[in-house]
Symmetry: C2
Subunit: 358 residues, 2 copies
């Protein structure tokens, strides 16, 4: 048991679990949630696990007006042996605190955050779905709750964790998706908030996604704000290109979100002695490599979709069909290895797994 003692109020009647249904992503929520309060004179206090229930917030709460908020996303996996595993939760918690710093939100004790996640998941263990590719999505987030209409960091916050049993993030699953390069709208710029997980980054991206969804594309690929030619990332994934046998991903430049999956992919490739480079890569370089038959694979990497092969990339008049629209061998090997480790079917040489006592 952890050193933290969170009060636990159990629900009276548990919900019916959506087993057997198409879970999709982020539509169902478990019976309980974690909530902790912050007041500038008290610090963080009163961490508790209570029934999943509506928040009651004054309409003047700063979250509604000035968007001071951060979030994280990670998953709990059930192994065949009935164990429950988290994948690199320390990385998510460290990123949460980096996001907090950028957004002027008070830091959270990482041990406490991890204990809260583990305790909540332990209580909700029956909600972890067991079918292949499913898991329990964990969404920690912090919102500014002080009722005040002035642009300044808030004096009150709530830290909340909710859980959602999930299936595939994209309806395509591990099958290749179609991605459109966005040339009008911009997601982020160095000096802005692109490298942290905060709501505004996603709000601003909706219009581009709506536009590309209308044309049949699953997500957009963002270009840099300054020169509008270097590749940044996909909506909720970092992106990789395999050209001439070398795997290339955009280097972290202050506007790209440093993904935990991205980091793990790079570590795996290095471990396998496969060439992997973090550097600037322009959309023109990708188009040229494709023209010359040197673009072998392209794929996204993120917690929600794990590895998502890109079968078609469209940039204005250029339509790149990649690897005949099929999942490439590197994407497949990374997917199999990552999910193998996550579901406890492969050894965990890097100590990425954090088990939950059941």
């Amino acid at each position: 048991m952890s050193q933290y003692n969170f009060t636990f109020s159990e629900v009276m009647t548990k919900k019916t679990k959506p087993y057997g249904k198409d879970l999709a992503f982020g539509r169902y929520f478990t019976d309980h949630m974690f909530v902790m309060e912050y007041h500038h004179q008290k610090g963080w206090y009163d961490g508790k696990i209570i029934p999943h229930q509506p928040l009651t917030l004054d309409p003047a709460s700063m979250i509604f007006h000035y968007g001071q908020t951060v979030f994280e996303g990670l998953k709990a996996y059930a192994t065949k042996d009935g164990e429950i595993q988290l994948f690199r939760p320390e990385e998510n918690i460290a990123r949460l605190n980096r996001s907090n710093e950028r957004m002027c939100i008070p830091q959270i004790d990482p041990d406490l955050a991890l204990a809260a996640i583990k305790e909540l998941v332990r209580i909700e263990k029956d909600w972890i779905p067991k079918q292949e590719g499913t898991s329990l999505y964990i969404r920690p987030f912090i919102i500014a709750t002080e009722p005040y209409l002035g642009v300044a960091p808030a004096k009150q916050y709530k830290f909340i964790i909710i859980l959602s049993p999930v299936g595939a993030y994209y309806k395509e699953g591990i099958n290749p998706v179609k991605i459109a390069v966005e040339t009008e709208y911009i997601r982020a710029i160095k000096g802005g908030t692109g490298e942290v997980k905060t709501a505004g980054n996603y709000a601003g991206s909706l219009i581009a996604q709506q536009k590309s969804a209308a044309k049949g594309y699953t997500q957009v690929l963002w270009l840099d704000a300054l020169e509008r030619k270097y590749i940044e990332e996909v909506g909720s994934m970092n992106v990789f290109f395999k050209i001439d046998g070398e795997v290339i991903t955009p280097e972290l430049n202050g506007s790209i979100l440093p993904g935990v999956t991205r980091k793990s992919v790079i570590q795996l490739l290095k471990h396998w002695n496969e060439p992997v480079t973090e550097r600037k890569i322009s959309i023109d370089e990708v188009i040229t490599a494709h023209k010359e038959g040197r673009l072998e694979e392209a794929f996204g990497a993120g917690t929600a979709a794990v590895i998502s092969p890109i079968g078609e990339l469209v940039c204005e008049d250029n339509k790149l069909v990649i690897n005949n629209g099929k999942t490439g061998e590197t994407a497949r090997k990374l997917y199999d290895t990552l999910t193998g480790i996550q579901y406890g079917e492969l050894p965990d040489p890097f100590n990425w797994i954090n088990k939950i006592d059941v």
Copy 2:
């Protein structure tokens, strides 16, 4: 009376009004609020005026995660004759709908929005403070309420209007403020969300404001994201410089918020046959003009502060004391004229005032 019939549930016990107190800005809220719902299959429905009360929202509501939201800010003024006046509310409503478009939020019927504002202010008329420089701040906002953890435009929203009796936005009032030029962080970029009123723009700006507040500055002056040299605007004001008798303000370029006060200032100056230009203006141009004794005035313009003279502008090693740190004549004349029209003490040649029947 308007063609719209909003249900009205009156509070049982009215709050004590904060008369005589230092109102400051955005700390007190009136007895009632307006709320209207949106559902993708029904459109906007069920507009009602109810007691100011907490919102109850599922913790998975999209506003908390992906920040899909827009807001506005305008004021109701009490005249000496007991009339209630709004200043150009049609402009705010038009901007709200432009913000909605960018943020993938459904449009609101402008006549309905205006009727809702007027009806709520009419009911709360006793809350409009009467001391000089005070008014009733009106905050319409829309939030995505659908409980769903996927990055996509929501299918459910709430449109809410809350009211707050306010005094001076800056503790300096009409007295000159000190502003620091921000050289590290970026507020907005063309292709992003800077030209609309959405929470993420403000969340991202907090860190710069905190940094400059620690050094004794009231607000930051933002530079453009691309070349980091052209002036954009101040935290919640557009900005004007008077150089060699000409008033210059940055042209609307896709990342600057098109302020209603800015527009009114330009119209007034033109009406007075005073030279006013909208164009790119670099921080170096301002520094040079100051060095050569040609920078006569600098001031911000926005609903909250009306006109706010800039007495000191600091940019890295350059500290510009402007007009001896005193309010300049153009700033003073604009302030007097704008507030004169707003409080019904001067004629309204442009038809800016929209009166509320009491």
